[in-house]
């Protein structure tokens, strides 16, 4: 499903001559995730987890290396091509939820369907919100929802397009432990129900333990 080979990300610092003032964020990462697999990327803060996730999603470009998503060479495409691929394959869950503040819960979930030009966006979104237990809160705006509720809306938005691959970036990072546990339960349930491949970035070992496999990053390299 996901295949990365020799991924590196090097950032040149201001005014630096090449080589002298470079910051290596990721170094020679290769990994493979099978369809239906749940994989956790773990590591301390600053170990390059989020950068790796951004590269795997095609949000960022690597200094070297390649990524294949569902058989497609990601960086052979231009930015709009990658976006189209994301629309077809990916669902996202972010640490800071990233709901649109001007849209209510229902509209937030409808948005990816609308962008894809789907006709029955509203019905699908309602159904999905029912599945995450927010059938009563369709018309609420993000700022009137609790953090847990906001992340559940985000989960509904991620799953509503039936993605083959779900990328989750510290999905409980902004939530307290109890709420976070609830959101994680829901995420794994939805993942199991829809047979989605899951790639989860976290620094929480307990959450990582629920995934079938762990990839540990230390200072930009895969540890072990």
């Amino acid at each position: 499903m996901v295949e990365a080979t020799g991924l590196s990300k090097v950032v040149r610092l201001a005014n630096g001559t090449p080589g002298a003032n470079e910051l290596v964020i990721l170094k020679d990462i290769s990994l493979e995730v099978m369809p239906g697999e749940a994989v956790a990327i773990v590591g301390a803060s600053g170990s390059g987890k989020s950068t790796l996730l951004g590269l795997l999603a095609g949000l960022d470009t690597p200094s070297s290396g390649a990524v294949r998503l569902d058989g497609t060479e990601l960086f052979a495409l231009d930015e709009d091509g990658r976006a189209a691929l994301r629309a077809r394959l990916l669902g996202f869950v972010f640490q800071s939820f990233q709901l649109l503040p001007a849209l209510n819960a229902l509209e937030n979930v409808m948005l990816p369907l609308e962008l894809a030009g789907k006709a029955d966006a509203s019905d699908q979104a309602r159904e999905m919100l029912k599945r995450v237990g927010l059938a009563e809160r369709l018309r609420h705006y993000p700022k009137t929802l609790s953090g847990g509720e906001q992340q559940r809306v985000a989960l509904a938005r991620a799953f509503v397009t039936r993605p083959k691959l779900l990328l989750a970036d510290e999905p409980t990072g902004n939530l307290d432990a109890a709420t976070g546990a609830g959101v994680i339960d829901l995420m794994f349930r939805l993942n199991a129900e829809s047979g989605t491949t899951l790639l989860l970035v976290t620094h929480d070992e307990a959450i990582a333990a629920r995934c079938a496999r762990k990839i540990r990053l230390v200072a930009g390299r895969i540890d072990g």
Partner: protein, 828 residues
């Protein structure tokens, strides 16, 4: 995509994201449209009324009878025709005799406008469509008085006798002219031959009036112009009713200014609003990119949304504009007899173009920058917002505004001043605000925690805060400009024509009559009148080269050269005269002799500064160089002179005198007694015209005030938008402070300190800006005296403090009312 964009528009609207933007657009479009509607109607009314002033759609004048060919052409084109013949002749009744301006007309005269007559002197008058019957004549009031006749009496004109049938009270086509103003006799053209007054050598004007359908008139005018012979001319509308036109021109300048201010201010509000919109939508944009939306897709989404917003707001603005201009027109109903014509559809296009170009000019550049925004922002906050180069972004917007203004006002000068004024203000405000912040930061270190924290906050983002101060200052400057300074400007305008402005002119006062006349006026309760000496002189050569009518192609120039000019002499520049070129008489000029010429005449006769002019008066000649070119205020209702000489140059010549005074109210018989006591004087009563001009001015000022409300609303909106700009950040900061354990009181005190500094700086800058712009407008554009106001320096900071404190109070309350966690979560 357009459908999704409409849905997004609806959602953004419901969430309150678009209120400032939409309101700013509606105000801008509304003010532009209302002014455009109004200007359109006034233009139409002026054209219509100007035709009344001619008495026709086209007026042809010649010094010989018109040919049958011309009359045929009028008939062939299906136009209505009337003719009149005018000349000056002595009229007699009993022992009285007076020089009369005789007009002999055909039935149907005038073709545009109506004559008014009364049955008896001082009886109520009414419109009439008739002309005098053969054998009878209508006399105006001064003629009746001078000849001491009543309706039913008989007068003699040449070899004929006429029965006085009615009193002529108004001729729509008789302009206001202070000189050569003989009383009127109106008669039938058929009676003319019998009088024996029409001789080959007589100076007679033959007028042919034509009126009818527009296209036919245009064809006729073109046809006639192509065949004009010697001594023939087609009269244009250019100089019809100069006194009313001057007022309307000034009002249109004011209205244009109001519309421009609204446009500029709305543009600022739109700029601020878009910035906030883009900032608030950055994350959403990035999130949508993650969902797989392509850049062209997202750009199209926002572009459609904004296009729809612009169209809807423009429609609302046009509707508002239409309503307001109707209100204004209703206000002015009495101003234009016959009311204002209905406006055409062009102003709608103007309004819509304003809305579209404003929103697209200001919103597109930041939206285009959204494309630079990496989608990575959703997981990496440090991948920041696109670098907004404020100047580059808004250049497109300001170019759009300037283009709009030029188009709307057709006045580059005013548009340049307003936009330049704001541009310079922005730059100066920004520099001063930044400097002031640095100074406060350096010297304001003492004080409590909250005070220091507040100041530290200001210093932490000196640029962002400077921008906010500039925006607030612009809003305050606008509000001050539109309240305090507007009132001063309008007062200055109104002051141009005080209630006791002269309304009677006495012409042809002989030197020995000056003392008795002064006594007479004093006995009748009239304040000592202004008296001007008047010497009649003919221009004979320019720079030693003899001039004659043949030297000029322009018919009016020909006529002026053939006639004698009324010249006067002054040592000091008379009021309502402004030297445009050269300088007023200095000591050397007064000694050696010099001339000052009116600029319009100078242009027409091709007279330049330094030219030596020679005049012939009473058989003697005199010459002097032109040392200045003057502009006159035609709406001042005072005697004006085309040529003014230095006193020494003219003192030896025989002169008559002109005087103007304000008649005491309620003394209807004064004119009569005056003409009895001094039979040779011509008394010109401009009371009616003056009252009309005053009414015009009052009503125009009222109308201008209504349109100014738009600009005021836009100014308030700018204030609101400026304060809103940093609200999100402040909410977040308050939450951080609370999270760190600050008490509500401490948070409020810190914000108060910050806002007090912000408000005071912005207020002072606003006062400075308003004064500078007001002074520029008064002196450079409206040519009025600028009144320095001390209040403004208190009002500005007060307004600044009130605005920010009110905002802080509401905003801080909102921020503090919520648990810090929710505020933190939302903005993180």
């Amino acid at each position: 995509m357009p459908r999704l964009a409409l849905r997004m528009l609806l959602r953004d609207w419901r969430a309150g994201e678009l209120r400032v933007l939409a309101l700013a657009l509606v105000l801008a479009v509304g003010s532009v449209a209302s002014v455009a509607f109004f200007a359109d109607r006034v233009r139409q009314a002026l054209t219509r009324d100007a035709h009344q002033v001619l008495g026709a759609d086209v007026l042809l004048t010649a010094d010989h009878p018109w040919s049958a060919e011309l009359r045929d052409a009028v008939a062939r084109l299906g136009l209505a025709r009337a003719e009149s013949t005018t000349f000056v002749s002595m009229a007699r009744a009993g022992d009285e005799a007076i020089l009369a301006a005789v007009k002999a007309v055909t039935p149907g005269y005038p073709l545009r406008g109506k004559l008014r007559t009364a049955a008896q002197l001082y009886a109520p008058d009414a419109d009439t469509s008739e002309v005098p019957d053969p054998g009878s004549a209508w006399l105006d009031e001064r003629m009746m008085t001078a000849l001491k006749v009543r309706a039913g009496d008989t007068i003699e004109l040449g070899r004929s006798r006429f029965r006085v049938a009615r009193v002529l009270t108004l001729e729509p086509d008789r302009g206001v002219s202070f000189m050569n103003f003989a009383p009127r006799i109106l008669m039938r053209v058929e009676d003319l031959p019998a009088t024996g007054l029409v001789q080959p050598q007589s100076r007679i004007n033959y007028q042919l009036l034509a009126a009818g359908e527009r296209a036919a008139i245009a064809r006729f005018e073109q046809w006639a112009r192509a065949r004009l012979g010697r001594g023939e001319r087609v009269d244009s509308l250019e100089n019809a009713r100069p006194e009313v036109r001057a007022g309307l021109d000034r009002a249109q300048s004011f209205l244009g200014l109001a519309a421009m201010l609204s446009v500029v201010l709305s543009a600022v509000a739109i700029g601020l609003g878009t910035r906030r919109y883009v900032e608030r939508h950055l994350d959403g944009y990035a999130a949508m990119r993650c969902m797989g939306a392509t850049q062209p897709q997202l750009f199209a989404l926002f572009a459609w949304e904004f296009l729809a917003l612009a169209l809807l707001a423009s429609a609302a603005g046009c509707a508002l504009g239409f309503l307001v201009q109707n209100l204004v027109a209703w206000w002015l109903a009495r101003l234009v007899p016959g009311g204002l014509p209905q406006p055409g559809p062009a102003p709608l296009a103007q309004g819509a173009a304003t809305g579209l170009s404003l929103l697209l000019g200001f919103a597109l550049p930041p939206l285009l920058q959204l494309k630079e925004m990496p989608a990575l922002r959703v997981i990496r906050r440090d991948v920041g917002a696109p670098q907004q180069s404020a100047v580059a972004v808004y250049i497109v917007g300001f170019a759009a505004v300037f283009a709009l203004m030029r188009w709307q006002a057709g006045e580059v000068k005013l548009a340049g001043y307003v936009l330049g004024g704001f541009g310079v203000s922005f730059a100066v405000f920004a520099a001063l605000a930044y400097g002031a912040l640095r100074a406060v930061g350096r010297f304001g270190r003492a004080g409590g925690v909250s005070w220091r924290y507040g100041l530290a906050n200001l210093m932490r983002r000196p640029r962002a805060n400077a921008v906010q101060i500039v925006a607030i200052a612009v809003g305050i400057a606008a509000v001050l400009l539109l309240t305090l300074i507007r009132a001063d400007l309008l007062d200055a305008w109104r002051g141009r024509l005080p209630p006791d402005a002269p309304d009677r002119f006495l012409v042809n006062i002989q030197p020995e009559q000056r003392a008795p006349l002064a006594d007479f006026l004093e006995r009748n309760g009239v304040k000592p009148p202004q008296t001007f000496a008047m010497v009649r002189a003919r221009l004979v050569s320019v720079n030693g080269k003899a001039v004659s009518a043949e030297d000029y192609a322009d018919e009016r120039a020909k006529r002026q050269i053939e006639r004698e000019f009324n010249m006067s002499y002054f040592a000091a520049l008379p009021t309502d005269n402004r030297v445009e070129e050269g300088s007023w008489f200095g000591p050397n000029d007064l000694e050696g002799g010099a001339l000052s010429v009116e600029h319009w005449l100078a242009e027409r006769l091709g007279i330049r500064l330094g030219d030596r002019l020679e005049f012939l008066a009473a058989g003697r000649s005199f010459s002097a160089p032109v040392t200045s070119v003057r502009k006159l205020e035609w709406d001042s209702m005072r005697p004006n002179f085309f040529f003014i000489a230095t006193p020494k140059l003219l003192e030896g010549f025989p002169a008559s005198y002109v005087a103007s005074f304000h008649a005491p109210p309620g003394d209807a018989g004064l004119t009569l007694r005056l003409s009895q006591a001094f039979p040779n004087l011509t008394v010109v009563d401009v009371g009616v015209v003056l009252r009309q001009v005053q009414a015009v001015m009052d009503q125009l000022i009222g109308a201008v005030q209504v349109v100014f409300l738009f600009a005021l609303a836009a100014g308030v909106l700018v204030l609101y938008a400026a304060l809103l700009a940093t609200q999100d950040e402040r909410t977040h900061e308050a939450a951080v402070m609370r999270a760190l354990g600050a008490s509500r009181a401490q948070v409020l005190a810190a914000q108060r300190a910050e806002f007090a500094v912000l408000g005071t700086i912005a207020g002072l800058l606003g006062s400075l800006g308003a004064t500078a712009i007001g002074w520029t407008l008064a002196t450079r554009i409206f040519e009025l005296d600028f009144v320095w106001s001390g209040w403004i320096w208190l009002a500005g900071p007060a307004l600044g403090l009130i605005a920010v404190v009110l905002n802080a109070w509401v905003g801080a309350r909102a921020a503090l009312a919520r648990p810090p966690m929710s505020a933190l979560r939302e903005v993180v």
